[in-house]
């Protein structure tokens, strides 16, 4: 009894295994191993009679009623989403399986271009980064390596250009910001596809700060020289400059925004007072009023 059961069990296993083998075999189902997205292709079946052909993937599903033994053609653009596809041919008497891959079209059509930051101080090494993802006309990521070129052209000086090879559909690079303030055009190009961003290059921190003083009635008129960064760009209006007067152990402070490149204020004209000026982390000169500068 035991041996009979064993032989039955083995028989059943062989039956299941052989039936799975026949399903796994593509048999009369002939299809390409890979298809370029949007390209025309065909699937050939064997036998006779009516069947249903399924092409199933995460990016698309198709179903066709077909005649076995005939070639089923798919028009250009019909299967356009890159990915892995299961192919299934179901007739009354049999089921045949297969798989194939759809790859992105080779020709880039659009770019997803991330350029950061949108505002950057001038003269900053590796201050601007660009990342580009390359897509075909069907929004598939183009995984084949391609030359990606980046160009940053500003208001002055020669444009900076870099060329890098995409890997897995992405390319990136970093560039220095220009020494002159102003809007720069940042362009990425892969094949015929291009995309542009505007990077605003703003002056850096003030480089040096100098003020002068003159009597103005009972007060002292204080005025800075034009405030510039280390590359000579005018520091933006609104930047705060702090004037501090120390006299007889007391301290008075005035914060003044820069207007038209210069900060101005008035403070009491105490003889023997010391007046200092600062903006951010930059200290300017000191004036000792009444004792000369």
């Amino acid at each position: 009894m035991k041996s009979r059961l064993t032989s039955l069990f083995l028989g059943a296993l062989i039956l299941v295994a052989s039936s799975q083998l026949s399903v796994a075999q593509t048999g009369g189902l002939h299809m390409p191993k890979t298809v370029e997205a949007g390209a025309a292709f065909s699937i050939q079946s064997a036998g006779s009679g009516h069947a249903t052909l399924y092409i199933v993937g995460l990016g698309q599903v198709l179903r066709r009623e077909v005649q076995l033994g005939e070639t089923t053609s798919f028009a250009p653009g019909e299967l356009h989403s890159a990915g892995h596809y299961a192919v299934l041919l179901v007739s009354d008497s049999s089921t045949e399986n297969g798989t194939f891959d759809v790859t992105a079209a080779r020709q880039p059509s659009s770019l997803s271009f991330l350029a950061r930051p949108s505002r950057v101080p001038v003269d900053l090494h590796d201050g601007i980064s660009g990342v580009v993802y390359v897509f075909d006309t069907f929004q598939n990521l183009v995984l084949e390596p391609a030359q990606a070129s980046f160009q940053l052209s500003g208001v002055a000086g020669a444009p900076q250009a870099r060329t890098v090879l995409t890997r897995n559909g992405v390319a990136w690079m970093k560039m220095d910001s220009a020494v002159k303030e102003g809007a720069a055009q940042f362009v990425a190009r892969v094949g015929n596809a291009s995309d542009a961003r505007v990077i605003t290059q703003v002056p850096g921190d003030p480089c040096s700060l100098r003020m002068n003083a003159r009597p103005s009635g009972q007060a002292l008129a204080l005025e800075t020289d034009p405030v510039r960064d280390c590359r000579g760009n005018a520091v933006p209006d609104g930047t705060i400059v702090t004037f501090t007067e120390t006299y007889d152990g007391d301290e008075a402070t005035v914060d003044v925004p820069i207007k038209r490149g210069i900060a101005r204020t008035e403070m009491p004209a105490h003889k023997g007072a010391t007046i200092s000026v600062a903006t951010g982390v930059v200290m300017g000169n000191e004036i000792h009023w009444g004792g000369g500068q």
Partner: protein
């Protein structure tokens, strides 16, 4: 006659066991086995451990919700984990499935993950995932086939307010 009947019962039992094993492998209630390749370098930006863990957690969650969305043709299930191109393409497929009366059961059993790129401004992460899964195709609720698949996926994730979302999910030939 009695022996033949016993034989038939045993055969039925064996076939039931086989069906059960297939059903179990398809239902895949177990968590997939996840292996993450060491990330020595991911390009221009250092990938912190916490970020890496968050990316992987959200990516795997995306597969879980994708599975649910494709089984029930529910586009809304994609909202939490997908964005942009990936979401549009998957949603289009679900609408097409609904139109054709199809459903698909994706059961991922293993992920072999490698994070390959973290963009300099921190706005995208790219990974490669060799996924092993079963896909069952149902036409008007009738199971047509189950395929065992091993495929290499390229995914791009971008950060949103609270999580990383999949922006690109694309299989490529191995």
């Amino acid at each position: 006659m009695k022996g033949a009947s016993r034989g038939m019962s045993a055969l039925r039992l064996v076939l039931m066991m086989c069906s059960l094993s297939v059903a179990l492998s398809v239902s895949g209630s177990d968590q997939p086995v996840v292996h993450v390749e060491p990330t020595d370098s991911v390009g221009p930006r250092v990938l912190e451990k916490q970020t890496e863990e968050a990316v992987i957690r959200d990516y795997l969650q995306a597969w879980r919700n994708l599975s649910g969305a494709f089984e029930d043709n529910q586009v809304a299930l994609l909202d939490a984990d997908f964005v942009g191109t990936a979401k549009e393409k998957l949603a289009d497929t679900l609408r097409e499935q609904t139109k054709l009366g199809l459903r698909t059961r994706y059961r991922d059993s293993a992920h072999d993950l490698q994070l390959i790129f973290y963009s300099p401004e921190g706005l995208s992460v790219q990974l490669i995932d060799t996924v092993t899964y079963d896909v069952q195709i149902l036409d008007h609720d009738k199971v047509q086939t189950t395929q065992h698949v091993r495929a290499r996926y390229v995914a791009v994730l971008t950060p949103t307010e609270v999580r990383w979302k999949v922006r690109v999910l694309q299989a490529e030939p191995e």
